[in-house]
């Protein structure tokens, strides 16, 4: 789960990481009321879970009440890298003297965390050369002032001054937050150095381990999922909405991804990814078609099911029931291997679903059907 900036900053404040004064607004009315608590000029920041918001025009300066009226509404409606803002953060403008980058991320290969710091904050960390950043591997529960001091030393933030002290506090508090809340990533980019030498977190990026959420009921309130996502989750499916018109369903994340790639390679546009997991019954198929039926864009469905333990006749039954109950009307193209595949094929014969022996065949049939549908229009 990726937290929005304002949510991350709420946690930052709980962990003694100072942030600029800011307020969340969900409407222009909110914004107008809250603006009295700040001084012009201040910043308005779109709360979308994407990187590079600055460059994408998601952060705008407001110089006056008149500007707020116009710019707030603009920002509310603006799509930032395909995402519509869920809220706008009003934040005091900060005089930036120097920017620092601090992050702690899960190093999957080494099975530990890596602390990454740079004195060239404010840019994408991937764009920084190796000379400009410090990377220190930190064992789980192994963060210490010693490591924070090592990072400060390597970045030449030295001495007994306020900057060094403030930097080390940031590193320690961010680490505490990341470990206690079980985050895969905690990133402050940038932390700005103020006139007096203390640091302020201007942005917050936190990605929490979804699988650890059961230990963190306090974070539940940050979960925001769309209606089809919610329904998929209830049924125990993995679901990702995409922007095309072909629904891709299968058993197993890797298999569905692989099918997505093959459809894409042939010029098709996947509209969603749905993995219903290991156990395919007529109910799971039925439920997954129900989730798909909520997305109006979807014009056809591709099912790739590698059976074995799964009984293919049960899958066919689920599809037939979904048509019978008018859950779906659009065509299904299916590749289902496993026990009794011939019988399943026979069952589907008089429905809008067609079954094929290979995934390649089912993709080709689906695409040629959808191309001829476009031609007919």
């Amino acid at each position: 789960m990726r937290l929005l900036e304002y949510q991350g900053k709420e946690l930052f404040r709980q962990y003694q990481i100072p942030t600029p004064k800011s307020y969340v607004a969900y409407s222009l009315n909110d914004a107008k009321k809250l603006s009295s608590k700040l001084e012009y000029p201040f910043m308005i920041k779109s709360q979308v879970a994407v990187g590079g918001r600055g460059k994408a025009g998601a952060i705008v300066k407001c110089n006056s009440a008149e500007e707020l009226d116009i710019k707030f509404v603009e920002l509310m409606q603006k799509k930032i890298k395909g995402e519509i803002s869920q809220a706008i953060l009003l934040e005091e403008a900060v005089d930036i003297k120097k920017e620092i980058y601090i992050s702690l991320f899960l190093n999957r290969g080494k099975r530990c965390y890596s602390l990454i710091c740079s004195t060239q904050g404010g840019v994408d960390i991937e764009d920084l050369g190796d000379n400009n950043k410090v990377i220190i591997d930190v064992p789980v529960n192994g963060m210490s002032y010693h490591i924070a001091a090592e990072a400060a030393d390597k970045l030449h933030i030295v001495g007994d001054n306020i900057v060094a002290k403030s930097f080390m506090d940031f590193v320690m508090n961010l680490s505490k937050l990341v470990l206690e809340k079980e985050a895969e990533l905690g990133e402050i980019n940038p932390a700005v150095v103020l006139e007096n030498g203390s640091l302020l977190a201007l942005d917050a990026k936190l990605i929490i381990d979804d699988n650890a959420l059961f230990r963190h009921p306090e974070l539940k309130k940050y979960e925001s999922i769309s209606q089809p996502e919610a329904q998929a989750k209830k049924s125990g499916f993995s679901f990702v909405e995409l922007d095309g018109d072909i629904a891709i369903i299968g058993n197993g994340a890797g298999l569905v991804m692989s099918t997505l790639d093959m459809v894409y390679d042939k010029g098709g546009k996947p509209g969603c990814f749905l993995d219903f997991g290991g156990s395919a019954t007529s109910e799971t198929i039925y439920e997954s078609l129900k989730v798909i039926s909520k997305i109006k864009r979807i014009k056809s469905i591709l099912i790739n099911l590698f059976g074995g333990i799964v009984k293919t006749t049960l899958v066919a039954e689920g599809i037939i029931n979904a048509y019978k109950d008018n859950i779906i009307e659009i065509p299904v193209f299916a590749r289902i291997t496993g026990a009794e595949a011939e019988k399943a094929k026979e069952m589907l014969k008089n429905s809008k679903a067609k079954m094929y022996d290979s995934v390649e065949e089912s993709i080709e049939s689906l695409l040629s059907a959808s191309f001829s549908r476009i031609k007919d229009k």
Binding site: L106, G109, E182, F214, G252, A253, M257, F306, S358
Partner: protein, 306 residues
């Protein structure tokens, strides 16, 4: 990295052993619906399941298999070095720790949704005990036509001399099925798991087969997320791994910053992207197939070239 661990020794033993292919296995969570279904399937495949553990159900039996309250008891009675864990994710940490405390050397961790910190802790503990965790979020391990510890179906697999390592379950079946159709049987198929943290990673898998002369080729099934494939490519180059290797990477068309079903399948910027993995593997002279059905053809060319 522990070098003394020999996967084949632990899993099936030597051909001269009396119990070759019949090493005792304990199922943790044997009475759950998932655990019980797959205990039956494993047993009918040839796996020698000698005990199950479900706290509170000790003294009972499942399909003639005695159930114990604790791993200590089950290990004492069976001498098993292998366990398969089928408990729900929140109980995995305890189950795995108990197994390791009872001197289990190979833990096959089936559950999905295990928290990252728990996986790291268990893996560290296993390494310090000279033991191995496979998974979590894995379909398990199969030695075709001999035994399996996991949830994979039997049909795709056929005995032979190819090894498949995979981050994905169903794709492992799909790849093995394609190999089988082309008459490439498998010596071993192992799912490392779809999570960000793998108890045994791809490099450790390659280490386990590097000196095995009876393995003719390796298929590695990767996917977006993390840098396991990139690190493997480096390992292949740096250590001069000489067996023919063919790759397949799923998720080329996946959008960034979206978790594609597996907890580990997510791209941040360039970190974890399919392009990065394909480029790295190509540098290590590992061709990457575009579709699963292309793999056998590429493998045959690779094996011929030597």
């Amino acid at each position: 990295m522990t070098r003394s661990f020999d996967l084949f020794d632990t899993l099936i033993g030597k051909e001269t052993d009396d119990d070759y292919g019949k090493k005792p296995v304990i199922v943790q969570g044997i009475t759950g619906s998932f655990g019980s279904t797959h205990t039956r399937l494993m047993k009918s495949y040839g796996t020698n399941i000698l005990a199950g553990v479900t706290p509170g159900k000790g003294g009972q039996q499942f399909d003639g298999i005695p159930i114990y309250n604790s791993m200590a008891e089950a290990v004492e009675k069976t001498g098993a070095k292998i366990s398969a864990i089928f408990v729900p994710a929140p109980f995995f940490l305890n189950a795995a720790t108990e197994a390791l405390d009872s001197d289990i050397k190979l833990v096959v961790a089936i559950p999905e949704h295990v928290p990252i910190l728990d996986s790291i802790k268990v893996t560290e503990y296993a390494i310090s005990n000279d033991a191995r965790i496979i998974g979590p979020n894995t379909p398990g391990i199969v030695v075709p036509e001999t035994m399996k510890v996991g949830i994979m179906p039997a049909q795709p697999f056929k005995s032979g001399d190819i090894v498949v390592f995979s981050r994905s379950g169903t794709l492992m079946y799909e790849l093995a099925y394609n190999l089988t159709l082309s008459n490439y049987g498998q010596k071993l198929c192992l799912g490392i798991g779809g999570d960000p943290i793998n108890g045994t990673n791809l490099i450790e898998c390659f280490e386990m087969i590097r000196e095995k002369d009876d393995i003719r080729g390796v298929v590695v099934v990767g996917e977006i997320g993390g840098d396991a494939e990139e690190r493997l490519a480096e390992y292949i180059i740096n250590t001069g791994f000489s067996k023919p290797v063919v790759g397949y990477i799923a998720g080329r068309s996946a959008p960034k910053e979206k978790r594609m079903g597996h907890a580990g399948a997510i791209v941040y910027g360039q970190y974890g992207s399919a392009e990065s993995k394909i480029t790295s593997l190509s540098k290590a002279n590992v061709p990457v197939a575009k579709t699963p059905s292309d793999v056998p053809l590429i493998l045959s060319k690779k094996i011929k070239k030597g």
